[in-house]
Amino acid sequence: MPENIRLAAVLARNEQELLNDWLREQAASGTRTVRVLGETIVRDQSRRLLVAMREAFASGHTSIDDAAWREVREVLSEVSREGAASGLTPSETATFVFSLKRPLFAALRKATGNDANALADETWAATTLVDQLGLYTTEVFQKAREEIIQRQQSEMLELSTPVVKLWQGVLALPLIGTLDSRRTQIVMESLLERIVETGAEVAIIDITGVPTVDTLVAQHLIKAVTAARLMGTECIISGIRPQIAQTIVHLGVDLQGVTTKATLADAFQLALTRGGRSLPAATPSHG
């Protein structure tokens, strides 16, 4: 491919000039890339990308999926991942690559002289290449963002399901946030594991932090209660707000004989009396 040989030659010959022009172009593009990532980092990454591109061209392969372009892909991934982690938009990240077009075309024009046909061919080859690189950054960016979201999701799931021991034989599970099937599964598993560990006779599921209870959430709660019962532990659902009590009745949800209490305190008191223990001053005695 003669065009690519010339493109490669242009890259090799004008590397320093291209780099300076490119950086100027990036600064002029009005994106936050330089400001957010830091000038030295952007300069270093731009330089490494140019070097990597020159080396990739030297191998003679033109598709960026080829092994020879691995280094190029790595530099681009780095830029995209850093951009995604520090809150840049996808277009800002892609502009990092696209701003190479103008300096590259200018260098090509200089190299081809008056040969309009050659210039057109070269420009086409260059633009195809830069587009490929730009698309690649967007792809990596998307992937990096998805990874971040997934990580946060799993962190949230772990954070939000503590099972606390309130008393000998009494566990409490304060639920915060909406219950979906995946969370219910995790909540159920951690509850049942703790039941085995502690040998608790009563478990209190407190739903003060659950914003809404619809038929699905109620079904999930009943599942958890049933599973605990199968293991020999009785469950009490507490923290039912007046609004939720109304919703439950209006929806016609049958809580299947599950004991419910308005507050965690009430449930705790019941749990203690069920276990044959008595609480010294359960009723408010002051005042």
Partner: protein, 133 residues
């Protein structure tokens, strides 16, 4: 042929499932248990499934059926030591075993049976003891 032992402890029958259940074993247990309840006049059955790690819908149904049959023969059933994974599986299968009492371990299961049958046992203990000996 493999069989699950059924032990008699006073007015109760004690069944400890130490092996993985298959359908055939489950059917045999059902036969043996009903037979023993009828023969001994046991008032309570305690099934320990703490070694059971795998259940399917058939075994779940078998447990429910055994409890129902025991009830017909006037004996209360307590299932003890269910593993978390088993409990989750049964719930997902829609088998909540409504007629069965449950407890965390054998000790608590025994206490549950004694408490539940205390009034009946007080009156019947004399002739039940005489019949067994």
């Amino acid at each position: 042929m493999e069989r699950i032992p059924i032990l008699k402890m006073g007015p109760f029958l004690l069944v400890t499932i130490q092996v993985e259940m298959d359908d055939h074993l489950a059917m045999t247990l059902q036969d043996d248990l009903t037979d023993r309840i009828a023969r001994t006049g046991a008032r309570g059955v305690l099934i320990d499934i703490s070694s059971l790690t795998l259940v399917d819908s058939f075994i779940g149904r078998m447990l429910a059926n055994v409890a129902a049959m025991a009830r017909v023969l006037d004996a209360a059933t307590v299932v003890v030591g269910m593993q978390p994974a088993v409990a989750i599986t049964l719930v997902e299968l829609g088998l909540s075993l409504p007629g069965i009492r449950t407890a965390l371990n054998v000790e608590r299961g025994m206490k549950l049976l004694r408490d539940a049958l205390a009034p009946a046992l007080d009156g019947a203990s004399h002739d039940a003891g005489a019949a067994d000996l």
